[in-house]
């Protein structure tokens, strides 16, 4: 009887996590026409099954990665207006959406520590107002697209890569946030409304990376403001693994930590991988007595992946 109840419970659980989900950012409270840029030092935003990393520099009050916003100003050009979408709202006129300043790459992490398969089907993207107006009108740093004559074959390209267990998918997906390469200049465009990007071809994914490139490059790198906006992430959840088979209920402590952190687990992990909040690899560690030494890492938020076979448990720790 006891076993029958357990199987029934697992069946219900499994059923409850299979299916399609979409994540928007409406559950987050943001004051009107405002933003959350990580200044609370949280290292990112966990919205349901999605984590959006953020890196905030308290010394210089600067940020990169993701910010959540409901800014509606899609008229004012310049860097003082860096949080709004070019449509002045989220997808389908929703209030909240995400914007990112891409420093090299921006990531979103789908896994939440549970051994569940995720397949991201797609999401909606839009230009950030700062980038949109810069491409349309030019500014003191960046050219207006098309150049002096309007004939320059300019583009602003968003490249998306999928990852599973840290392994990059073989294909990447490109989406042009602006494209002026047409022979007929009347076909040139800068994305101003939310557009759906289908990434279902990646299959099972636990993180996505985003990078931006532009034809407007100067001696100091890309001149086009490296921003875009994201909303309504849609994905399938499939519990291919019986959660009861994964016996790891990990408690990591102390957290935050100055150096050595402990974890309670009867398992012997195949590998333990530490990455930063942006998914950038830092180190593989070997645990002795269920302890990990992170004293050599600089202060910040880190992701620790505990692996057994093809399964992992992810924990987030803060190094002081």
């Amino acid at each position: 009887m006891k076993n029958t109840l357990l199987v029934a419970f697992l069946l219900v659980l499994s059923t409850s996590i299979n299916g399609q989900l979409s994540v928007d950012f409406e559950s987050i409270f943001i004051e009107q026409d405002s933003f959350l840029n990580g200044s609370d030092g949280s290292g990112g935003f966990q919205i349901e099954h999605v984590f959006l990393p953020n890196d905030y520099n308290t010394e210089f009050l600067s940020w990169s990665g993701w910010a959540l916003t409901n800014d509606t100003d899609n008229v004012t050009p310049g860097f003082l207006n860096q949080y709004s979408s070019s449509s002045g709202a989220g997808f389908d006129n929703s209030e909240n959406y995400a914007t990112t300043f891409v420093l090299g790459e921006s990531h979103i992490n789908i896994s939440t520590g549970s051994p569940i398969d995720y397949k991201v089907n797609g999401f909606y993207v839009n230009n950030n107002t700062y980038a949109y107006l810069s491409m349309r009108d030019g500014d003191a740093f960046a050219k207006k697209f098309g150049g002096e004559t309007g004939d320059d074959p300019d583009y602003f390209l968003l490249t998306i890569k999928g990852f599973e267990n840290g392994i990059e998918k073989s294909d990447s997906i490109n989406f042009y946030l602006a494209d002026f390469r047409f022979e007929d200049n009347s076909q040139d465009y800068i994305v101003k409304d939310w557009s759906y990007v289908d990434v279902s071809s990646f299959g099972k994914t636990d993180s996505l990376s985003f990078s931006l490139s532009s034809t407007d490059i100067g001696a100091f790198g890309m001149n086009t403001p490296a921003y875009f906006c994201l909303d309504q992430i849609e994905f399938d959840i499939n519990s291919s693994v019986d959660p009861s088979d994964f016996k790891t209920e990990l408690l990591v402590f102390p957290n935050p930590s100055h150096g050595v952190i402990n974890f309670n687990s009867p398992n012997r992990f195949d590998k333990i991988i530490i990455t930063d909040a942006f998914g950038r690899f830092k180190k593989v560690v070997h645990s002795i007595n269920n302890q990990i030494d992170i004293s050599e890492l600089i202060s910040g938020t880190y992701i620790i992946e505990f692996w057994i076979g093809q399964e992992k448990v992810v924990n987030r720790v803060v190094k002081l």
């Binding site: 520099n57 030019g138 740093f141 002096e148 004559t149 100067g218 001696a219 001149n223």
Partner: protein
């Protein structure tokens, strides 16, 4: 009245970066702009022009007063330039220099012999006046009319010049006449694109007192046409106005003692036009400054003493209503110097002195009101021999950031023949990091080292005797400069730039100048040429700037060529000035070479012994060349200026 530009031998938008406050992640682009303004390095050349009531370019050495004796005079070429011209325009026509001009009426900075704009110190009667936050001075804001001499030293005389003069020094000199002359000068000018200027100067002498009041007002709509391919466009939001007033008072206590008091007020408004890759720009900037100076000098039997003190209050306000940005930067600076010249037996001269500089600056991007001090002592000895001149000098400097620095210099001149001189100049100098380098938030690096330089100049000058009526002068100046700990802003891991010290930057080049004079009964002709070749490069890769080892630095032309012609017949003068600037590497694209030709005609008349009129007509860019000095900043085509001047003595 004559004005002299003493071109010396022998021997850093102003524009504050417009940053309000909490602007996460956009610092990257801001600093791109900052670096654009600084200009990472520029080059050189020479010109020499001429004419009428204007500025003489004497290919002479050195500065005014006490220090003057410690720089050796070369030959004299009496060339003249027009007095209404701003300093940047004037200097662009001289050898060894390159003016980075962001468009007519816009930011202009000076680079000498392949150095950066920050490598030339700017002084007013020997006292530093460049903006300590950026280490630059915007020369477009300074009218030549206020000064009697403008001296450009392109050789490092480090013991005399000190901090910042790695590549040279530009000195604006006020001089009052020793006689009791009275003089009233009024000059009116009208030109293309709504240009007009009004200059007024009145000198009054009474017994041992002399008072001079100078006032200049200049404005332009600056709405010139330019071309993008076949399309004609009109410059917008480009109006500017310049207002300067200077009061000079001199009193001779006795024949051995003199005191000068000077007050200089400047109020300038500049609209910032859009780039050619920008639809619209509504930004504008106001630069205001008040400078005051007291100078007292006295003579002993074999000594000469001078004390000079200068105080500067300076403020820039930048407003961009389009992007809702306002920026406000202020600094105060005080400078004091004591100099003593002693003449010993055997013509041995000893110059000794000490100086002190204090600067306080404030902007939203500094965490605090930042202060900087610099103390120096210096000494130089000069010994003229039969056919040789030897000069040795040193300067010891100490700043509140950094150790004690020694800046030595050596000059040796040998007269090989009566018409052939050879001279060697060696010097070491330093440039402190600017306040922005140290304290800008984000990125400022308080641990930056000072840049250090070594300058090697060789000068050959040949002046063969042709005849009394005709003369010829040829001068060759190969030079090498090595700048270590080059300060450069590079991208950091985070979203901003920060300054760091780079290994070594070298500038190697050759300047060849020649001038012919033909003097006839009622006329004379002068033809001058200058060819300048400069290679200026880093000895290591700068990947953050797409700059490889050996690449020519940004906005540094390898070649500059100037040919000038002047014909004077009785009271008329005709001048032709031809200037070629080779290709320059820009931050986004290569800037094409260009050739500009200017023409000037002037006529002087005397209605009485005490009244003199001069009328002049200048055609600039006579070939209507479409050119740019800086990428995305168009320059005007053919344009005209008519000037009338009346002098009452």
């Amino acid at each position: 009245m004559p004005y002299d530009l003493l071109l010396t031998f022998g021997g850093k938008d102003s524009w504050m970066v417009p940053l309000e406050s909490l602007l996460p992640c956009i610092y990257t682009n801001l600093f791109k702009y900052f670096l654009h303004i600084l200009g990472i390095c520029l080059p050189i050349t020479e010109a020499a022009l001429q004419t009428t009531n204007a500025i003489n370019i004497d290919t002479v050495f050195i500065s005014s007063d006490v220090k003057k004796n410690f720089q050796i005079t070369q030959s004299k070429n009496k060339n003249q330039l027009y007095t209404t011209q701003s300093i940047d325009k004037l200097i662009s026509k001289t050898s060894g220099s390159f003016i980075r001009n962001y468009g007519r009426g816009s930011l202009s900075t000076l680079a000498v012999k392949g150095g950066t704009s920050q490598h030339t110190s700017i002084t007013w009667n020997g006292c530093p006046i460049q903006n300590p936050m950026l280490g630059l001075s915007d020369l477009s804001l300074i009218p030549s009319f206020l000064f009697q001499n403008v001296e450009l030293l392109s050789e490092g005389s480090s013991a005399l010049l000190g901090n910042g003069a790695l590549a040279g020094n530009l000195n604006f000199v006020n001089q009052t006449k020793s006689d009791s002359s009275n003089n009233l000068s009024v000059q009116l000018a009208q030109g293309s694109f709504g240009y007009s200027s009004h200059l007024f100067q009145n000198t009054r002498s009474y017994k041992n007192h002399q008072l001079r009041l100078s006032y200049s007002f200049e404005k332009a709509d600056n709405d010139f046409d330019f071309f993008i391919g076949p399309d004609k466009r009109k410059q917008s939001n480009a109006e500017y106005s310049r207002q300067n007033a200077m009061l000079e008072y001199r009193i001779d206590q006795n024949r051995m003692s003199r005191t000068n008091l000077r007050v200089w007020y400047s109020n300038n408004t500049t609209n910032i036009p859009p780039l050619t890759t920008q639809s619209e720009n509504l930004a504008n900037q106001t630069d205001q400054s008040l400078k005051s100076q007291v100078e007292h000098s006295w003579k002993g039997p074999s000594t000469f003493h001078k004390i000079i003190a200068t105080s500067i209050w300076d403020r820039q306000r930048y407003t961009d209503p389009l992007i809702l940005l306002k920026s406000h930067n202020t600094y105060h600076s005080q400078y004091a110097e004591y100099t003593n010249q002693l003449v010993l037996e055997s013509n041995l001269m000893v110059l000794s002195g000490l100086d002190f500089q204090s600067t306080t600056a404030q902007t939203l991007n500094y965490s605090n009101k930042e202060k900087q001090y610099l103390y120096s002592i210096f000494q130089s000895i000069k010994k003229p021999l039969k056919n040789q001149i030897i000069k040795l000098g040193y300067r010891l400097s100490h700043a509140n950031q950094g150790a004690i620095r020694l800046s030595p210099d050596l000059f040796y001149q040998l007269q090989l023949q009566s018409n052939l001189n050879i001279a060697l100049s060696l010097s070491e100098n330093f440039r402190r990091p600017t306040l922005n380098d140290l304290f800008w938030n984000p990125g400022g690096n308080p641990n930056l080292k000072a840049e250090t330089s070594r300058n090697y100049d060789l000068i050959f000058e040949w002046t063969p005797s042709v005849s009394k009526a005709h003369s010829f002068n040829l001068k060759l100046n190969p030079f090498v400069r090595r700048v270590n700990n080059w300060i450069i802003w590079v991208p950091q891991d985070f979203a901003f730039f920060a300054p760091s010290n780079l290994g070594e930057v070298r500038s190697e080049g050759l300047i060849i100048q020649s001038r012919f004079y033909w003097n006839f009964k009622d006329s004379n002709i002068s033809i001058g040429t200058t060819q300048q070749v400069v290679k200026s490069y880093s000895t290591e890769d700068v990947p953050s700037q797409s700059l490889l080892r050996g690449d020519q630095l940004f906005y540094t032309p390898k070649h500059k060529s100037i040919i000038d012609f002047a014909w004077t017949y009785k009271n008329q003068t005709l001048q032709l000035h031809h200037q070629y600037i080779s290709t320059r590497k820009g931050f986004n694209q290569t800037v094409e070479p260009f050739t500009i030709i200017d023409l000037l005609y002037s006529l002087k008349t005397k209605s009485s012994a005490n009244s003199e009129f001069e009328i002049s007509f200048e055609v600039q860019n006579i070939c209507n060349t479409h050119y740019r000095i800086i990428e995305r900043r168009p320059m005007p085509g053919r344009n005209f200026t008519l000037t009338i001047q009346h002098i009452l003595k």
